[in-house]
Subunit: 359 residues, 2 copies
Amino acid sequence: MSSSTPDTITLPWASDFHCHLRQGAMMELVVPLVEQGGVRTVLAMPNLTPPLTTTQMAVDYGQRLQALAPSVHFVLTLYLNPDLTPEEIGRAAAAGITAVKMYPSGVTTNSEWGVADLRAYYPTFAAMQDANMVLCLHGECPSDADKGICILNAEERFLDTLRELHAAFPRLRIVLEHATTRAAVDCVKSLGSTVGCTITAHHLVLTVDDWAGQPHHFCKPVAKFPSDRAALRDVVASGHPRFFLGSDSAPHLLSAKQGERPAAGVFTTPVLIPLLATLFEKLGCLSRLEGFVSAHGRSFYQLPQPAAGSAAITLTRAAPLKVPRAYAVDCSPADAGSQPVTVVPFMAGTELAWSIAST
Amino acid sequence: MSSSTPDTITLPWASDFHCHLRQGAMMELVVPLVEQGGVRTVLAMPNLTPPLTTTQMAVDYGQRLQALAPSVHFVLTLYLNPDLTPEEIGRAAAAGITAVKMYPSGVTTNSEWGVADLRAYYPTFAAMQDANMVLCLHGECPSDADKGICILNAEERFLDTLRELHAAFPRLRIVLEHATTRAAVDCVKSLGSTVGCTITAHHLVLTVDDWAGQPHHFCKPVAKFPSDRAALRDVVASGHPRFFLGSDSAPHLLSAKQGERPAAGVFTTPVLIPLLATLFEKLGCLSRLEGFVSAHGRSFYQLPQPAAGSAAITLTRAAPLKVPRAYAVDCSPADAGSQPVTVVPFMAGTELAWSIAST
């Protein structure tokens, strides 16, 4: 440690522009943990069961979330689907819904992501552009061995689609979510001011070696080569204003993570900002933390920046944070098979250098 | 199916030049299954606990194996280690031990695989060359993020070492084991007649997508890109005489495969030749099966080719082979935690087009 490293850092409450808050018992566990992780603005993903496909569904979900965490600002989203006509986009914007999320599987049925299919949504994207909504992209092509596409190059193969969308809708704000590759970072940097990019905490930590044989580190997109991780680290260390936090925190029951077919997802919500502080310090870019977890994303999403003197969090290195081994979920055993009904967080059982002082 | 496809195929008993036969209860389960899979010559890997580091240990292990499967020819190996002096190599050769296996972790301690370390074994390799022994290589560099090395490029990064060894010991027979990449295939093809290469059954089937989130498909080296799998398929379909079967069948208890840290290994032994017949047929190269599973490897290892009229196996498509969901291991529950004490084979629960007719 350099002697110039501070022992406390004061930050505005952070903003997480990609989070899976789930529903039912998992939602009841996770939503109160958002604030514990240092976040008070959170973009809630719409991939529930059933997915949030209409304005009314998203509004109702927002109310359920708000009841669980009155201090948190929930940024609401819709799942891109054929019912999102230009008229429905107008209703969604009027209801305060911020973004629409596009998943590859939501674009085509039993088929590859292709320009022909994407163009079917161009009227929707035009309406979103006019309504100043944001398009969030899960930027991966479906795997197709005959075309040489697998989970390792699925993101890179998607980038032409991103370029094409940006060219067709230059005023539409587009977020390439959970970037994992040097190719994605370079592509986003090369594009205009309406294209942003989220980076997760765990992709700043992991490479392919860390999820091979470690299902609690398995997520989609998968962590890739060391050179890719280096590109993610470099761009956050550079303070690039169009790169910002989207944790993609995605809790699953332990029983779903350890078994024959482990589910994809890493759960970072409860320790998110201490984890990032610890990591940024290791990377020598602690000064970039506030931009990454607050200013950049709020600017891209056109949310007000925190006013001077507004509520803040204090990170301290006086008390290391012991990450819990698991969080109990209040659901019936039938939901979880024979395993304990818990969720295991990222870095479970380890110690983080920074914690949030009580506020 | 083309109408020209035969309904039966007669093959010599097959040879598997890379197999983990284990010890204790697992050995007692696995060894009798070798013949069930269509194999009567099997190279037994030395990575036991403790590893087989001396001639006497390997000879004793061979006797234990032979007692369990009297009809099988066991090809014995030693684990490369500092005790394998030129004198010990002489004793090993005299005792009928065929090969020495080099693992990256057996070459250096807490360090990378490097030329400096490798050269410490040059007197051993010279003695092996003189004694006409075979050097089996686990051809991967240890991961090192600072050098950009991870499990995806660890094999390709190793190839310079292979080239260097072959140049230094041109008469030493060297096997690059369980090749998984186009780079490895191209490298072996480019080298001389003393360099062979084994390919597993499962690497002809899997890509990275198949082991991500599927621990029963997780093995080391990991399966890689579709283009890599295509290179493996192409070289076996071409009938190249220096590429042959080494299954790397590696059974683990189910409890070790499904959990927090799944073990690496795929268990193909009990269905090996029916699996390969089914696969070669799909790839349109059934005519190459005999070379791959018998002639090529026996030639490289300088074992006699089967005499005309000698014992053979008959594969038939009259009775598809239902792969068992699991095999029971006769060990105490304490060895296996709370999970059932079983081993799950590759393709468990599926049906293979070809089976071995009773002989």
